[in-house]
Protein backbone atom coordinates (compact mmCIF):
# COMPACT_ATOMS: atom_id res chain seq x y z
CA UNK A 1 0.00 0.00 0.00
CA UNK A 2 1.20 3.49 -0.78
CA UNK A 3 2.07 5.68 2.19
CA UNK A 4 -0.79 7.98 3.23
CA UNK A 5 0.45 11.54 3.41
CA UNK A 6 -1.11 14.75 4.60
CA UNK A 7 -0.16 18.42 4.47
CA UNK A 8 -0.97 20.91 7.20
CA UNK A 9 -0.56 24.65 7.24
CA UNK A 10 0.28 26.71 10.31
CA UNK A 11 1.53 30.29 10.53
CA UNK A 12 3.67 31.07 7.53
CA UNK A 13 4.29 34.33 5.79
CA UNK A 14 3.01 33.52 2.35
CA UNK A 15 0.67 30.74 3.15
CA UNK A 16 0.94 27.78 0.95
CA UNK A 17 4.47 27.26 -0.20
CA UNK A 18 3.54 24.07 -1.89
CA UNK A 19 1.83 26.13 -4.55
CA UNK A 20 5.29 26.99 -5.65
CA UNK A 21 6.08 23.39 -6.37
CA UNK A 22 6.16 22.67 -10.01
CA UNK A 23 3.36 20.28 -9.38
CA UNK A 24 2.22 19.97 -12.97
CA UNK A 25 5.44 18.20 -13.83
CA UNK A 26 6.07 16.29 -10.68
CA UNK A 27 2.66 15.61 -9.21
CA UNK A 28 2.00 12.53 -11.29
CA UNK A 29 5.33 11.09 -10.30
CA UNK A 30 4.71 11.89 -6.68
CA UNK A 31 1.27 10.36 -6.78
CA UNK A 32 2.83 7.13 -7.97
CA UNK A 33 4.49 6.83 -4.61
CA UNK A 34 2.01 8.25 -2.14
CA UNK A 35 -1.70 8.88 -1.52
CA UNK A 36 -2.40 12.42 -0.46
CA UNK A 37 -5.20 12.11 2.04
CA UNK A 38 -5.37 15.65 3.36
CA UNK A 39 -4.37 19.03 2.14
CA UNK A 40 -3.85 21.92 4.52
CA UNK A 41 -7.32 23.59 4.43
CA UNK A 42 -9.08 20.48 5.58
CA UNK A 43 -9.21 21.66 9.15
CA UNK A 44 -11.50 19.05 10.60
CA UNK A 45 -8.96 16.32 10.06
CA UNK A 46 -10.60 13.14 8.91
CA UNK A 47 -8.06 10.37 8.80
CA UNK A 48 -6.95 8.98 12.09
CA UNK A 49 -3.54 7.89 10.88
CA UNK A 50 -0.97 9.33 8.48
CA UNK A 51 2.24 7.67 7.39
CA UNK A 52 3.80 11.05 6.71
CA UNK A 53 2.55 14.44 7.88
CA UNK A 54 4.08 17.51 6.29
CA UNK A 55 3.86 20.67 8.37
CA UNK A 56 4.23 24.18 7.04
CA UNK A 57 4.52 27.31 9.10
CA UNK A 58 5.52 28.06 12.65
CA UNK A 59 3.59 27.44 15.81
CA UNK A 60 2.34 30.73 17.19
CA UNK A 61 -0.87 30.28 19.17
CA UNK A 62 -2.22 27.95 21.83
CA UNK A 63 -4.63 26.40 19.35
CA UNK A 64 -1.68 25.69 17.04
CA UNK A 65 -0.01 23.86 19.89
CA UNK A 66 -3.03 21.71 20.45
CA UNK A 67 -3.41 20.96 16.78
CA UNK A 68 0.21 20.01 16.21
CA UNK A 69 0.14 17.64 19.18
CA UNK A 70 -2.92 16.05 17.68
CA UNK A 71 -1.29 15.65 14.28
CA UNK A 72 1.86 14.23 15.84
CA UNK A 73 -0.18 11.60 17.66
CA UNK A 74 -1.65 10.42 14.40
CA UNK A 75 1.53 10.44 12.27
CA UNK A 76 4.37 7.97 11.91
CA UNK A 77 6.72 10.46 10.31
CA UNK A 78 6.45 14.19 10.75
CA UNK A 79 8.27 16.53 8.42
CA UNK A 80 8.73 20.28 8.87
CA UNK A 81 8.55 22.15 5.55
CA UNK A 82 10.23 25.52 5.08
CA UNK A 83 12.12 27.68 7.51
CA UNK A 84 9.03 28.86 9.43
CA UNK A 85 8.33 25.28 10.43
CA UNK A 86 11.96 24.23 10.74
CA UNK A 87 13.21 26.97 13.03
CA UNK A 88 10.51 29.60 13.31
CA UNK A 89 12.06 31.39 10.39
CA UNK A 90 11.38 34.99 9.68
CA UNK A 91 8.23 34.82 11.82
CA UNK A 92 10.41 34.33 14.82
CA UNK A 93 12.33 37.51 14.04
CA UNK A 94 9.22 39.67 14.03
CA UNK A 95 8.10 38.75 17.50
CA UNK A 96 11.43 38.57 19.15
CA UNK A 97 12.25 41.60 21.23
CA UNK A 98 14.16 41.38 23.38
CA UNK A 99 15.64 38.11 22.30
CA UNK A 100 16.43 36.71 25.74
CA UNK A 101 12.86 36.88 26.89
CA UNK A 102 11.70 35.14 23.82
CA UNK A 103 14.23 32.40 24.11
CA UNK A 104 12.92 31.67 27.57
CA UNK A 105 9.41 31.64 26.25
CA UNK A 106 10.29 29.31 23.42
CA UNK A 107 12.05 26.77 25.49
CA UNK A 108 10.36 27.19 28.84
CA UNK A 109 7.79 24.41 28.59
CA UNK A 110 5.20 26.05 30.80
CA UNK A 111 4.80 29.12 28.75
CA UNK A 112 2.94 27.54 25.87
CA UNK A 113 -0.45 28.59 27.14
CA UNK A 114 -0.02 32.31 26.75
CA UNK A 115 -2.61 33.93 24.59
CA UNK A 116 -0.09 34.96 21.98
CA UNK A 117 3.04 32.97 21.49
CA UNK A 118 6.23 33.84 19.72
CA UNK A 119 6.70 32.01 16.44
CA UNK A 120 8.14 28.65 17.32
CA UNK A 121 9.74 25.92 15.34
CA UNK A 122 7.54 22.84 15.11
CA UNK A 123 10.37 20.95 16.75
CA UNK A 124 10.13 23.05 19.90
CA UNK A 125 6.64 21.64 20.45
CA UNK A 126 6.72 18.11 19.04
CA UNK A 127 9.30 15.69 17.71
CA UNK A 128 10.21 16.41 14.07
CA UNK A 129 11.66 13.51 12.08
CA UNK A 130 12.82 15.35 8.99
CA UNK A 131 13.03 18.87 7.74
CA UNK A 132 13.04 20.62 4.40
CA UNK A 133 14.78 23.91 4.85
CA UNK A 134 14.58 27.19 3.03
CA UNK A 135 12.29 30.16 2.62
CA UNK A 136 10.49 29.33 0.52
CA UNK A 137 11.07 25.65 0.96
CA UNK A 138 13.34 24.20 -1.69
CA UNK A 139 11.39 22.10 -4.19
CA UNK A 140 14.21 19.78 -5.09
CA UNK A 141 14.83 19.20 -1.43
CA UNK A 142 11.22 18.31 -0.90
CA UNK A 143 11.28 15.82 -3.76
CA UNK A 144 14.54 14.31 -2.54
CA UNK A 145 13.14 13.81 0.90
CA UNK A 146 10.00 12.22 -0.48
CA UNK A 147 12.05 9.83 -2.63
CA UNK A 148 14.29 9.00 0.31
CA UNK A 149 11.26 8.19 2.43
CA UNK A 150 9.83 6.06 -0.34
CA UNK A 151 13.14 4.20 -0.69
CA UNK A 152 13.34 3.81 3.06
CA UNK A 153 16.62 5.63 3.34
CA UNK A 154 17.65 8.44 5.61
CA UNK A 155 16.95 11.90 4.23
CA UNK A 156 19.91 13.94 3.05
CA UNK A 157 21.30 16.30 5.66
CA UNK A 158 22.86 19.56 4.65
CA UNK A 159 25.74 20.77 6.70
CA UNK A 160 28.02 22.32 4.10
CA UNK A 161 27.96 26.06 3.47
CA UNK A 162 26.15 27.70 0.56
CA UNK A 163 29.60 28.80 -0.67
CA UNK A 164 30.37 25.25 -1.79
CA UNK A 165 27.60 25.20 -4.36
CA UNK A 166 28.31 28.82 -5.21
CA UNK A 167 31.94 28.01 -6.02
CA UNK A 168 31.01 24.90 -7.99
CA UNK A 169 28.80 27.10 -10.18
CA UNK A 170 31.71 29.49 -10.64
CA UNK A 171 29.71 32.45 -9.42
CA UNK A 172 31.56 35.66 -8.82
CA UNK A 173 31.63 36.00 -5.05
CA UNK A 174 29.51 38.88 -3.79
CA UNK A 175 32.31 39.84 -1.41
CA UNK A 176 34.43 40.53 -4.47
CA UNK A 177 31.66 42.87 -5.58
CA UNK A 178 31.52 44.75 -2.31
CA UNK A 179 28.44 43.01 -0.92
CA UNK A 180 27.97 41.10 2.29
CA UNK A 181 26.73 37.52 2.12
CA UNK A 182 25.82 34.91 4.73
CA UNK A 183 26.78 32.01 2.46
CA UNK A 184 29.86 30.93 4.45
CA UNK A 185 27.88 29.95 7.56
CA UNK A 186 24.55 28.99 5.98
CA UNK A 187 23.52 25.41 5.27
CA UNK A 188 23.69 24.71 1.56
CA UNK A 189 21.40 22.57 -0.51
CA UNK A 190 19.72 25.42 -2.39
CA UNK A 191 22.28 25.36 -5.21
CA UNK A 192 23.35 28.83 -4.06
CA UNK A 193 20.09 30.22 -5.36
CA UNK A 194 20.46 33.85 -4.26
CA UNK A 195 24.14 34.48 -5.11
CA UNK A 196 23.49 32.95 -8.53
CA UNK A 197 21.09 35.84 -9.13
CA UNK A 198 23.41 38.44 -7.66
CA UNK A 199 21.53 38.54 -4.34
CA UNK A 200 23.27 37.97 -1.05
CA UNK A 201 22.38 34.91 0.98
CA UNK A 202 20.14 35.82 3.91
CA UNK A 203 20.64 32.51 5.68
CA UNK A 204 17.18 31.14 5.04
CA UNK A 205 18.30 27.51 5.29
CA UNK A 206 19.68 27.91 8.77
CA UNK A 207 23.14 28.18 10.24
CA UNK A 208 25.69 25.33 10.01
CA UNK A 209 25.94 23.01 12.98
CA UNK A 210 29.31 24.29 14.14
CA UNK A 211 29.72 27.83 12.79
CA UNK A 212 32.43 30.38 13.50
CA UNK A 213 29.98 33.21 14.14
CA UNK A 214 32.55 35.66 15.46
CA UNK A 215 34.60 35.10 12.34
CA UNK A 216 31.49 35.67 10.23
CA UNK A 217 30.64 38.91 12.02
CA UNK A 218 34.19 40.09 11.53
CA UNK A 219 34.00 39.38 7.82
CA UNK A 220 30.75 41.30 7.57
CA UNK A 221 31.99 44.31 9.48
CA UNK A 222 35.22 44.30 7.49
CA UNK A 223 33.06 44.60 4.41
CA UNK A 224 31.41 47.80 5.46
CA UNK A 225 28.38 47.10 7.61
CA UNK A 226 28.03 47.86 11.30
CA UNK A 227 28.15 45.16 13.93
CA UNK A 228 24.50 45.83 14.70
CA UNK A 229 23.47 45.43 11.12
CA UNK A 230 25.62 42.31 10.79
CA UNK A 231 23.91 40.72 13.78
CA UNK A 232 20.49 41.67 12.46
CA UNK A 233 21.25 40.00 9.16
CA UNK A 234 22.41 36.87 10.85
CA UNK A 235 19.31 36.70 13.03
CA UNK A 236 16.83 37.33 10.25
CA UNK A 237 16.03 33.65 9.71
CA UNK A 238 17.89 32.20 12.62
CA UNK A 239 16.90 34.00 15.78
CA UNK A 240 15.77 30.68 17.26
CA UNK A 241 19.04 28.94 16.43
CA UNK A 242 21.78 31.48 16.94
CA UNK A 243 22.96 33.13 20.11
CA UNK A 244 24.75 36.41 19.54
Amino acid sequence: MKPQVAFFDFTSCEGCQLNKLNLENDLLDILKHVDIVEFREAMDDKADHYDIAFIEGSISSPSCVERIHDIRRRSDILVALGSCAVNGGINAMKNLHPIDEVRETVYGKDKYLFATLPAMAVSSVVKVDYEVRGCPMNQQDFLKLLIALVLGKQAPKYNSPVCVECKLKENECLYNRGMVCLGPVTRGGCDALCPSFGQFCTGCRGILSNPNLDGMLEIMTNHGISLDEAKKRMLLFNSNEVQL
Binding site: L151, G152, K153, Q154
Partner: protein
Protein backbone atom coordinates in the same frame (compact mmCIF):
# COMPACT_ATOMS: atom_id res chain seq x y z
CA UNK B 1 56.26 12.79 -10.78
CA UNK B 2 53.87 10.80 -12.96
CA UNK B 3 53.46 12.40 -16.36
CA UNK B 4 50.69 12.06 -18.88
CA UNK B 5 53.03 10.71 -21.52
CA UNK B 6 54.11 7.89 -19.19
CA UNK B 7 50.58 6.54 -18.95
CA UNK B 8 49.41 4.03 -21.53
CA UNK B 9 45.77 4.20 -22.50
CA UNK B 10 45.01 0.74 -21.16
CA UNK B 11 46.51 1.55 -17.77
CA UNK B 12 43.85 4.20 -17.19
CA UNK B 13 40.85 2.41 -15.77
CA UNK B 14 37.28 3.03 -14.70
CA UNK B 15 37.81 2.96 -10.98
CA UNK B 16 34.25 3.47 -9.85
CA UNK B 17 32.18 0.70 -11.44
CA UNK B 18 31.02 -1.99 -9.05
CA UNK B 19 30.79 -5.70 -9.76
CA UNK B 20 27.34 -7.00 -8.92
CA UNK B 21 27.55 -9.82 -6.41
CA UNK B 22 24.75 -12.10 -5.30
CA UNK B 23 23.80 -12.47 -1.67
CA UNK B 24 23.80 -16.23 -1.00
CA UNK B 25 23.45 -16.01 2.75
CA UNK B 26 22.29 -13.29 5.16
CA UNK B 27 21.57 -13.33 8.86
CA UNK B 28 21.08 -10.67 11.51
CA UNK B 29 23.53 -11.88 14.17
CA UNK B 30 23.05 -9.20 16.83
CA UNK B 31 20.67 -6.28 17.29
CA UNK B 32 22.90 -4.11 15.14
CA UNK B 33 24.99 -6.40 12.96
CA UNK B 34 24.12 -8.45 9.93
CA UNK B 35 26.26 -11.11 8.31
CA UNK B 36 26.30 -11.61 4.53
CA UNK B 37 27.79 -14.21 2.24
CA UNK B 38 28.34 -12.99 -1.31
CA UNK B 39 29.21 -14.58 -4.60
CA UNK B 40 31.08 -12.94 -7.45
CA UNK B 41 29.75 -13.46 -10.98
CA UNK B 42 30.80 -16.68 -12.74
CA UNK B 43 32.22 -18.27 -9.64
CA UNK B 44 35.22 -15.93 -9.51
CA UNK B 45 37.10 -15.47 -6.26
CA UNK B 46 37.47 -12.02 -4.78
CA UNK B 47 41.20 -12.59 -4.40
CA UNK B 48 41.79 -10.65 -1.22
CA UNK B 49 44.29 -10.66 1.64
CA UNK B 50 43.18 -10.76 5.26
CA UNK B 51 42.71 -7.15 6.40
CA UNK B 52 41.61 -5.74 3.05
CA UNK B 53 38.22 -4.14 2.45
CA UNK B 54 35.69 -3.63 -0.32
CA UNK B 55 33.46 -0.70 -1.22
CA UNK B 56 29.92 -1.96 -0.90
CA UNK B 57 27.14 -0.21 -2.76
CA UNK B 58 23.42 -0.15 -3.25
CA UNK B 59 22.23 2.01 -6.13
CA UNK B 60 20.34 5.07 -5.04
CA UNK B 61 21.77 4.87 -1.54
CA UNK B 62 25.54 5.05 -1.80
CA UNK B 63 28.77 3.28 -1.00
CA UNK B 64 30.66 2.37 2.15
CA UNK B 65 33.97 0.65 2.94
CA UNK B 66 33.46 -2.72 4.61
CA UNK B 67 36.11 -5.21 5.70
CA UNK B 68 36.19 -8.67 4.23
CA UNK B 69 35.46 -10.96 7.11
CA UNK B 70 36.17 -14.35 5.54
CA UNK B 71 39.58 -15.83 4.91
CA UNK B 72 40.97 -15.95 1.37
CA UNK B 73 41.33 -19.68 1.95
CA UNK B 74 37.56 -19.87 1.69
CA UNK B 75 36.79 -20.26 -2.02
CA UNK B 76 33.67 -19.55 -4.05
CA UNK B 77 32.24 -16.84 -1.82
CA UNK B 78 33.23 -14.21 0.69
CA UNK B 79 31.66 -12.77 3.81
CA UNK B 80 30.91 -9.35 5.26
CA UNK B 81 29.47 -8.28 8.56
CA UNK B 82 27.86 -4.87 8.67
CA UNK B 83 26.79 -2.75 11.62
CA UNK B 84 23.72 -0.60 10.99
CA UNK B 85 24.79 2.93 11.75
CA UNK B 86 23.79 5.19 8.86
CA UNK B 87 22.22 5.60 5.47
CA UNK B 88 23.59 2.68 3.49
CA UNK B 89 24.15 0.26 6.32
CA UNK B 90 20.52 0.58 7.41
CA UNK B 91 19.26 -0.05 3.91
CA UNK B 92 21.50 -3.10 3.60
CA UNK B 93 19.74 -4.47 6.65
CA UNK B 94 16.84 -5.29 4.34
CA UNK B 95 19.01 -7.24 1.91
CA UNK B 96 18.42 -10.97 1.90
CA UNK B 97 19.44 -14.03 -0.02
CA UNK B 98 19.04 -13.48 -3.76
CA UNK B 99 19.55 -9.70 -3.66
CA UNK B 100 22.42 -8.10 -5.56
CA UNK B 101 25.04 -5.90 -3.90
CA UNK B 102 27.65 -3.85 -5.74
CA UNK B 103 31.26 -4.50 -4.77
CA UNK B 104 34.47 -2.67 -5.68
CA UNK B 105 37.80 -3.98 -4.55
CA UNK B 106 39.46 -5.60 -2.71
CA UNK B 107 41.30 -2.44 -1.71
CA UNK B 108 44.15 -1.43 0.54
CA UNK B 109 46.92 -3.29 2.25
CA UNK B 110 46.10 -6.24 4.46
CA UNK B 111 48.37 -8.17 6.81
CA UNK B 112 51.75 -9.09 5.29
CA UNK B 113 51.27 -12.84 5.60
CA UNK B 114 54.84 -13.65 4.60
CA UNK B 115 56.09 -11.71 7.64
CA UNK B 116 53.66 -13.51 9.90
CA UNK B 117 54.66 -17.05 8.93
CA UNK B 118 56.03 -19.06 11.82
CA UNK B 119 55.06 -16.32 14.30
CA UNK B 120 52.76 -16.39 17.31
CA UNK B 121 49.71 -14.36 16.33
CA UNK B 122 48.11 -12.23 19.02
CA UNK B 123 44.71 -10.96 17.91
CA UNK B 124 43.25 -8.02 19.84
CA UNK B 125 39.72 -7.19 18.72
CA UNK B 126 37.44 -4.57 20.24
CA UNK B 127 33.77 -4.69 19.24
CA UNK B 128 33.26 -4.73 15.51
CA UNK B 129 37.05 -4.92 15.12
CA UNK B 130 36.60 -8.68 15.16
CA UNK B 131 35.08 -8.48 11.66
CA UNK B 132 38.33 -7.85 9.74
CA UNK B 133 40.42 -9.87 12.20
CA UNK B 134 38.20 -12.89 11.68
CA UNK B 135 39.67 -13.08 8.18
CA UNK B 136 43.15 -13.36 9.65
CA UNK B 137 42.05 -15.78 12.39
CA UNK B 138 40.45 -18.11 9.89
CA UNK B 139 43.43 -17.83 7.60
CA UNK B 140 45.70 -18.91 10.44
CA UNK B 141 43.34 -21.76 11.34
CA UNK B 142 43.18 -22.93 7.72
CA UNK B 143 46.99 -22.92 7.55
CA UNK B 144 47.53 -23.83 11.16
CA UNK B 145 50.98 -25.44 10.82
CA UNK B 146 52.44 -22.30 9.19
CA UNK B 147 51.97 -20.29 12.37
CA UNK B 148 52.91 -20.54 16.06
CA UNK B 149 50.44 -19.85 18.82
CA UNK B 150 47.11 -18.18 18.07
CA UNK B 151 45.99 -15.99 20.93
CA UNK B 152 42.69 -14.16 20.58
CA UNK B 153 41.62 -11.33 22.88
CA UNK B 154 38.13 -10.13 22.16
CA UNK B 155 36.24 -7.45 24.04
CA UNK B 156 32.65 -6.33 23.58
CA UNK B 157 30.37 -3.94 25.43
CA UNK B 158 27.94 -6.65 26.51
CA UNK B 159 27.40 -10.38 25.97
CA UNK B 160 24.56 -9.56 23.57
CA UNK B 161 27.00 -7.70 21.32
CA UNK B 162 29.42 -10.58 20.87
CA UNK B 163 29.76 -11.44 17.19
CA UNK B 164 30.14 -14.87 15.56
CA UNK B 165 29.13 -16.73 18.70
CA UNK B 166 29.02 -20.16 17.05
CA UNK B 167 32.47 -19.74 15.63
CA UNK B 168 33.78 -18.53 18.95
CA UNK B 169 32.35 -21.66 20.54
CA UNK B 170 34.39 -23.75 18.11
CA UNK B 171 37.55 -21.73 18.74
CA UNK B 172 37.00 -22.33 22.44
CA UNK B 173 37.07 -26.09 21.99
CA UNK B 174 40.31 -26.12 19.98
CA UNK B 175 43.45 -26.60 22.01
CA UNK B 176 45.52 -24.71 19.42
CA UNK B 177 43.62 -21.50 20.07
CA UNK B 178 44.03 -19.44 23.23
CA UNK B 179 40.84 -17.45 23.53
CA UNK B 180 40.13 -14.72 26.09
CA UNK B 181 36.88 -12.79 25.99
CA UNK B 182 35.78 -9.89 28.13
CA UNK B 183 32.72 -7.66 28.29
CA UNK B 184 32.36 -4.19 29.79
CA UNK B 185 28.79 -4.64 30.98
CA UNK B 186 28.02 -8.24 31.94
CA UNK B 187 24.47 -9.55 32.28
CA UNK B 188 23.27 -12.09 34.87
CA UNK B 189 24.22 -15.11 32.81
CA UNK B 190 27.75 -13.91 32.05
CA UNK B 191 30.45 -15.93 33.81
CA UNK B 192 33.50 -14.79 31.87
CA UNK B 193 35.87 -11.84 32.29
CA UNK B 194 34.56 -8.36 32.75
CA UNK B 195 36.34 -5.09 32.07
CA UNK B 196 37.96 -3.40 29.13
CA UNK B 197 40.14 -5.36 26.76
CA UNK B 198 43.43 -4.03 28.15
CA UNK B 199 42.76 -5.94 31.38
CA UNK B 200 43.42 -9.17 29.47
CA UNK B 201 46.94 -8.21 28.45
CA UNK B 202 49.00 -8.19 31.68
CA UNK B 203 48.21 -11.86 32.36
CA UNK B 204 49.46 -13.04 28.97
CA UNK B 205 52.57 -15.13 28.74
CA UNK B 206 54.08 -14.09 25.39
CA UNK B 207 57.13 -15.32 23.52
CA UNK B 208 58.71 -11.93 23.08
CA UNK B 209 60.66 -12.50 19.92
CA UNK B 210 58.08 -14.38 17.94
CA UNK B 211 54.83 -12.56 18.73
CA UNK B 212 53.01 -10.38 16.25
CA UNK B 213 50.03 -8.41 17.55
CA UNK B 214 47.13 -7.38 15.32
CA UNK B 215 44.81 -4.76 16.82
CA UNK B 216 41.46 -3.52 15.53
CA UNK B 217 38.80 -1.69 17.48
CA UNK B 218 37.23 1.68 18.16
CA UNK B 219 39.57 4.70 17.81
CA UNK B 220 40.08 5.20 21.55
CA UNK B 221 41.21 1.61 22.09
CA UNK B 222 44.53 1.73 20.25
CA UNK B 223 46.54 3.98 22.55
CA UNK B 224 45.76 1.94 25.63
CA UNK B 225 46.29 -1.44 24.03
CA UNK B 226 49.61 -0.36 22.57
CA UNK B 227 50.69 0.97 25.97
CA UNK B 228 49.93 -2.38 27.56
CA UNK B 229 51.76 -4.25 24.81
CA UNK B 230 54.76 -1.98 25.20
CA UNK B 231 54.83 -2.80 28.88
CA UNK B 232 54.98 -6.46 27.82
CA UNK B 233 58.18 -5.48 25.99
CA UNK B 234 56.81 -5.93 22.50
CA UNK B 235 58.66 -3.87 19.89
CA UNK B 236 56.85 -1.33 17.73
CA UNK B 237 57.39 -3.36 14.60
CA UNK B 238 55.68 -6.38 16.16
CA UNK B 239 52.41 -4.42 16.30
CA UNK B 240 49.91 -4.01 13.46
CA UNK B 241 46.86 -1.79 13.66
CA UNK B 242 43.95 -1.44 11.28
CA UNK B 243 42.63 2.11 11.14
CA UNK B 244 39.26 3.46 10.16
CA UNK B 245 38.73 6.76 8.38
CA UNK B 246 35.98 8.27 6.30
CA UNK B 247 36.32 6.81 2.84
CA UNK B 248 34.67 7.43 -0.48
CA UNK B 249 36.74 6.16 -3.38
CA UNK B 250 38.92 3.47 -1.82
CA UNK B 251 41.54 4.02 -4.52
CA UNK B 252 43.59 6.95 -3.26
CA UNK B 253 41.82 9.74 -5.11
CA UNK B 254 39.07 11.38 -3.09
CA UNK B 255 41.25 12.50 -0.17
CA UNK B 256 38.81 11.67 2.62
CA UNK B 257 40.85 8.98 4.33
CA UNK B 258 44.11 10.89 4.75
CA UNK B 259 46.03 10.52 7.97
CA UNK B 260 48.51 13.36 7.62
CA UNK B 261 50.23 12.51 4.34
CA UNK B 262 49.19 8.86 4.28
CA UNK B 263 46.13 7.43 2.53
CA UNK B 264 44.36 4.98 4.80
CA UNK B 265 42.65 3.30 1.83
CA UNK B 266 45.89 2.67 -0.06
CA UNK B 267 48.70 2.58 2.47
CA UNK B 268 46.38 0.93 5.02
CA UNK B 269 43.97 0.15 6.52
CA UNK B 270 46.48 -2.26 8.07
CA UNK B 271 49.61 -0.44 9.18
CA UNK B 272 52.72 -1.50 10.99
CA UNK B 273 52.85 0.61 14.13
CA UNK B 274 56.32 1.95 13.23
CA UNK B 275 54.88 3.51 10.07
CA UNK B 276 52.11 5.47 11.76
CA UNK B 277 53.74 6.21 15.09
CA UNK B 278 55.21 9.50 13.80
CA UNK B 279 51.84 10.60 12.36
CA UNK B 280 50.07 13.04 14.65
CA UNK B 281 46.66 12.28 13.20
CA UNK B 282 46.94 8.50 13.40
CA UNK B 283 45.96 7.45 16.90
Amino acid sequence: MKRLQDVKAKEARDLYYPTMCKVVGARQITDLEKWYELQMPAGQDLGHEPGQFVEVSAFGIGEAPISISSSPSKKGSFELCIRQVGTLTNVLKRYEQGDMIGIRGPFGKGYPIEKLLGKDILIIAGGIGLVPLRSLINYVLDNRKDFGRLIILYGAKSPAELLFKEEIAIWETRDDVELHITVDQPDESWTGNTGVITTLIPGLDLNLNTTIAAITGPPIMYKFVIMSLKSKQLNDDQIYVSLERRMKCGVGKCGHCQINGVYCCQDGPVFNYTDIKPLEEAL
